[in-house]
């Protein structure tokens, strides 16, 4: 029953297969990149005299609780992966949202720390308030601090055109040193000679999903070892907000329009400056929330371990691997959470240095980066009725729109 050429366009397209195809083609690049990274990683392990199968078995066990051979508890491994996943989801969105506006937020780490610092400060000083008041307060405080930190970069970008990559890197370091000051000798220090803050009040803490009880045995271990907390629900809610904001609101349209072409956005009546600032504020709020939740859900105080935190940097890889979509970011966060969680088991069981995971992360980034343009091009036509690619207005915008799609033949170069 060959349809005549004339009727083809009018025929309703079979929705589901098309969606499936789109998902499949969208998944192809990230999945391919991950596979490629693991293959190269295996070669590196092999070349240095290690056993890649043992290494990856350890990673799978520690990350997903699968293929465990040394008596590991699968539920424990899965819960550990989820704990690592939670902040990555929110920090990942803090990188992904500016991506859509053609901005590269390398400052998720600084914003994360700002959020953690604000949450701790409020949680200590108002520690006696009851949870219904204090908990929203510390989370909102964290969001505000993160927004402020990112907002500095946003304002500098919008007003004097300062490159946000550089300003956010600088702001990361300022946050790092501020943190050191605060907990070593500064006002948040617990006691002389310590390098941590006092704990936040009980009302500022997020509940764990399973009872925090050393005596209740679940899956063979005390239930308190499963540290998954209600921050998971907040993270998933934030992901939904992210998707809604991006695709169902005027602001989301404006963000995408600015990311496609600042000139075109301007013609369409979008205030590019305002959009840049608002985008960075929201992004910072996401990352600040991640920091606040890490304090409220896991640590309950600021410690020296935040000196070596890398959540905001991992978030860059997460945002790229997730192709800037909410679902993609959640999936990529799970992968990176699993890698993080699995690295310890890998070293304990297979004797392969846990820094192999860093190598794998870098390899994933390389292959994603090299395919990044293709990946976005595949997705954008179906999702964002965006204006045709136009020449970029600024290096930063150029960076992203160029990455998204090379300028069409004959387009004038950037000026």
């Amino acid at each position: 029953m060959a349809a005549s050429p004339a009727t083809v366009p009018e025929r309703p397209r079979p929705r589901l297969p098309a969606t499936a195809r789109r998902v499949a083609s969208g998944m192809a690049v990230p999945v391919g990149s991950v596979v490629l990274a693991f293959v190269i990683g295996a070669l590196i392990v092999l070349a240095t005299g290690g056993d890649p199968l043992a290494a990856y078995q350890g990673l799978l066990c520690g990350g997903l609780g699968a293929f465990c051979t040394q008596g590991e508890n699968p539920a424990l491994q899965v819960s550990s992966t989820i704990v690592f996943t939670i902040p990555l989801i929110m920090a990942g969105m803090a990188v992904a949202l500016p991506f859509r506006a053609g901005l590269f937020n390398i400052g998720a780490e600084g914003q994360f720390l700002a959020g953690a610092i604000a949450c701790t400060t409020i949680g200590i000083h108002l520690g006696t308030l009851p949870a219904p008041i204090l908990l929203p307060l510390v989370l909102l405080g964290g969001m505000a601090a993160g927004a402020l930190w990112a907002g500095i970069a946003g304002v500098l970008k919008a007003t004097v055109g300062a490159h946000e990559v550089v300003t956010t890197i600088m702001l990361n370091y300022v946050a790092q040193w501020l943190l050191r000051y605060l907990i070593i000798g500064g006002p948040l220090q617990l006691a002389s000679g310590t390098s941590k803050s006092s704990p936040i009040g009980a009302g500022a803490r997020l509940a764990t999903l399973l009872p925090n009880d050393n005596n209740l045995v679940i899956f063979g271990l005390p239930s308190s070892v499963y540290r998954v907390h209600s921050g998971l629900l907040i993270a998933l809610l934030a992901a939904a907000v992210f998707a809604f904001l991006l695709w169902r609101t005027t602001l989301g349209y404006e963000i995408r329009a600015v990311g496609q072409s600042q000139k075109a956005a301007r013609y369409a009546g979008v205030s590019v400056r305002r959009t840049i600032i608002v985008t960075m504020l929201i992004a910072g709020a996401f990352s600040g929330l991640a920091g606040a939740i890490q304090i409220a859900g896991i640590d309950h105080n600021l410690t020296d371990k935040y000196f070596s935190d890398t959540t905001g940097f991992d978030a860059i890889a997460v945002a790229l691997l997730g192709l800037g979509s909410a679902v993609g970011i959640v999936l990529a966060s799970i992968l990176f959470g699993a890698l993080h969680s699995g690295s310890g088991v890998m070293q304990a069981d297979a004797g392969i240095s846990s820094s192999l995971v860093l190598v794998l992360q870098a390899l994933i980034l390389f292959s994603i980066a090299a395919n990044f343009l293709g990946a976005i091009r595949l997705r954008l036509p179906g999702l964002g009725r965006a204006p045709a690619a136009r020449p970029p207005d600024s290096p930063a915008a150029a960076l992203m729109t160029e990455a998204a799609a090379p300028p069409p033949e004959g387009s004038p170069s950037a000026t």
């Binding site: 006691a191 063979g220 070596s308 993080h340 304990a348 846990s354």
Partner: protein
């Protein structure tokens, strides 16, 4: 429904553990192989300092006591709890955390696994406020760093007093990493003893604010050398290697820390030793022999857990006599080096 099922699982698991426990005690196999898990802090195994020494102790236990030993390096502070929990959940007989950064993590995990033994180097199992939880399954391995600092301080003070150092300005220095207790204990003993031997001495104390980057410590050391210091004590881990090198390049003396750092630079005349390897081995041996003791176990000069090594230097006889003298007095309790840096 779901709840009862969880309960049921728990009961099954508990029963299984009980059976397993009974099985091992009744059948009395020739020798139970004890399992020891070691979790490093973010310094990692190649830190040429306490993580490394802890591993050396574990290796000795693997050889001498036939234990099974496994190691996990923590990449970030977020890894402490998961890495400790992983070993504990696998039923390891002893889980060792290296470094006082892990105190809170040990406090948490030891509460969850009351039947597993834990040991921690340089700390106790604490709550978030830093209070020792005093769990019955945690052994805290502390060191009197001030003892080791005092012994090298005696030598430094004597050399200055006798004009045997390089510049004869009665100035010595100490370069710390970050101003935290294990660092300051060393410096306290050093300054106290040097001042005791040479009351006119000036002890410069600086911090690099870093434990990793040798160039940072080298800068601090050069500042002290410019201020006429001619014996420099490094208390900054790997960063401190820069102190030893700065001393070498400026032809003054240096003193190593934690491990014997004789080979790090020809300028190293002494090392203040903190025998983390001995402590680790002792903790493992205690578990294997069924003599695990909860609470603090302090390693000091008296039990040979802290001391000094003479490196690229031949110690004059009279100084050796004085060091032995002070050492004997510290052992007997006649002298007690302070743990806080004297004014």
């Amino acid at each position: 429904m779901g709840h009862t099922r969880l309960r049921f699982l728990g009961v099954v698991a508990a029963a299984f553990m009980l059976v397993a426990a009974c099985g091992s005690s009744t059948s009395s196999p020739p020798a139970k192989q004890y399992k020891v898990g070691l979790v490093t802090d973010i310094g990692g195994l190649n830190d040429k300092s306490f993580n490394h020494l802890a591993y050396v102790g574990l290796q000795k236990a693997i050889t001498d006591l036939s234990v099974k030993g496994d190691v996990t390096e923590s990449k970030s502070g977020d890894d402490y709890v998961p890495n400790l929990t992983n070993f504990a959940s696998k039923g390891y007989d002893l889980v060792i955390g290296v470094g006082f950064l892990m105190a809170e993590a040990i406090g948490t995990v030891s509460g969850q696994f009351p039947n597993i033994h834990f040991a921690i180097i340089d700390g106790a199992g604490t709550d978030a406020k830093g209070n020792d939880l005093k769990h019955a399954n945690v052994q805290s391995l502390f060191f009197s760093e001030q003892d080791a600092g005092a012994l090298v301080g005696v030598v430094a003070g004597m050399l200055e007093k006798q004009g045997k150092a390089k510049k004869n300005a009665h100035v010595i220095g100490a370069v710390g990493g970050i101003s935290i207790p294990p660092v300051n204990h060393y410096i306290a003993g050093y300054k106290w003893a040097a001042t005791m031997e040479d009351p006119g001495i000036k002890v410069l104390i600086g911090y690099s604010n870093d434990f990793v980057d040798p160039a940072k410590c080298k800068g601090v050391a050069q500042g002290q050398i410019s201020a006429k210091a001619d014996i420099l004590f490094q208390v900054a881990g790997q960063c401190g290697l820069g102190v030893l090198q700065a001393a070498g390049q400026n032809s003054v003396y240096s003193i190593g820390v934690d491990a014997d750092q004789k080979d790090s630079d020809p300028s190293v005349i002494l090392s203040a030793l903190k025998k983390v390897d001995v402590a680790t081995y002792t903790a493992i041996k205690g578990v294997v022999n069924g003599q695990f003791k909860a609470g603090a176990l302090t390693f000091n000069v008296a039990n040979d857990g802290a001391g000094y090594a003479i490196d690229n230097f031949s110690l004059p006889a009279d100084i050796q006599t004085e060091v032995d003298n002070v050492k004997a007095k510290i052992k007997s309790g006649a002298l007690t080096p302070p743990s806080d840096i004297p004014a």
